[in-house]
Symmetry: C2
Subunit: 199 residues, 2 copies
């Protein structure tokens, strides 16, 4: 628009680059920032800078943390013989929030996707193999996403990990709890049937 | 969660204060900020600081702008005899985007809301009256929101402005373009009927 302030336009454009923020939300957030008390926008600015400054990928598992190794790799109370392989640091947080897993992690940094030109060299795959080769790991749980690229990645890893003599498992596919059977898609329903367990 | 990095937690909390950002979006944006190139988060930080620094309310119409008076008040090509009264700076942007109005504005900074303790003294009402008293204004268009508080504000302003001998109008209520009649609420439908025009 012709009359907008250049600084405001710049702020709205910067906000629009964030994921899930469309033009309307960016405008709403920009005006909120302009009208909120100065301490609040200063807190946001310093939080962004501090996070960029402090948070690094753990040199063992590549989970984003303030310390290296990350608190999970440092925690000797956790099962040191199991690695859960995930695509992203956010998946680690989701798993930790669920609270059922007490082993170690390995963050790949994505999934294999030949169409997007993402090959094994673009992910932390050799680092995973190196951890397994050290001999302490007994089981690798492949918890990549139940998507095409996640499944391809899991298949690729499974093939190579089995050769190293380690137990390889894939997290179960099935019906999410709290949903209705009639709403499930066919692929999920087939996988839920195949993965049925005796009661 | 027990293992999150303190800097990350702080960033997620700061992001959650923004309007329309829930816990999931805040987490997604925080990880995006951590993984984006440093220039991108630096651009966001400097855009926030610059906007806070440069953008001020215009001393005439209270629209947020980099200059004082704002570009709209400075533009002598605009109709200097009409003021459109809106609640918020974002309403000015919406009006400018629509492009149909070529007069001046007055941003009240909210609406009268006795329940929330917002009275005439909390809004830029006396400043509006002062502008009208200077004698150049011929029409005041009340474009406060079509909500209870917006209507109360419009009624309050209309009463006092009429005494000053200025023409006072209210923007039309009716069916939004592109919607279906059967989906309109009863109040809107009644107002649309009352406001019907000869074709």
């Amino acid at each position: 628009m012709p009359y907008s302030s250049p600084s405001l336009t710049k702020l709205i454009e910067a906000l629009r680059k964030l994921p899930g923020i469309g033009p309307k939300s960016a405008e709403r957030i920009a005006f909120y920032i302009l009208k909120s008390p100065p301490q609040e926008s200063e807190a946001l600015v310093s939080a962004i800078m501090e996070a960029r400054w402090n948070v690094k990928a753990c040199s063992i598992c590549f989970f984003l943390a303030d310390t290296d190794p990350c608190p999970i790799c440092q925690d000797k109370a956790r099962d040191q013989e199991t690695i859960c392989v995930v695509e992203d640091s956010r998946d680690v947080i989701a798993m930790e929030r669920a609270g059922a897993y007490k082993g170690l992690y390995h963050v790949l940094g994505g999934a294999l996707s030949p169409l997007d030109g993402i090959g094994p060299g673009d992910l932390r795959i050799s680092e995973l193999f190196e951890r397994v080769r050290q001999g302490k790991i007994k089981e690798v749980i492949l918890a990549t996403n139940p998507t095409m690229t996640g499944d391809i990645t899991a298949a690729h890893l499974a093939q190579q990990l089995k050769v190293m003599g380690v137990k390889v498992t894939r997290i179960a596919h099935g019906l999410p709890v709290g949903t209705e059977l009639e709403l499930a898609d066919e692929v999920t329903l087939n996988l839920a049937l195949q993965g049925r367990r005796e009661m």
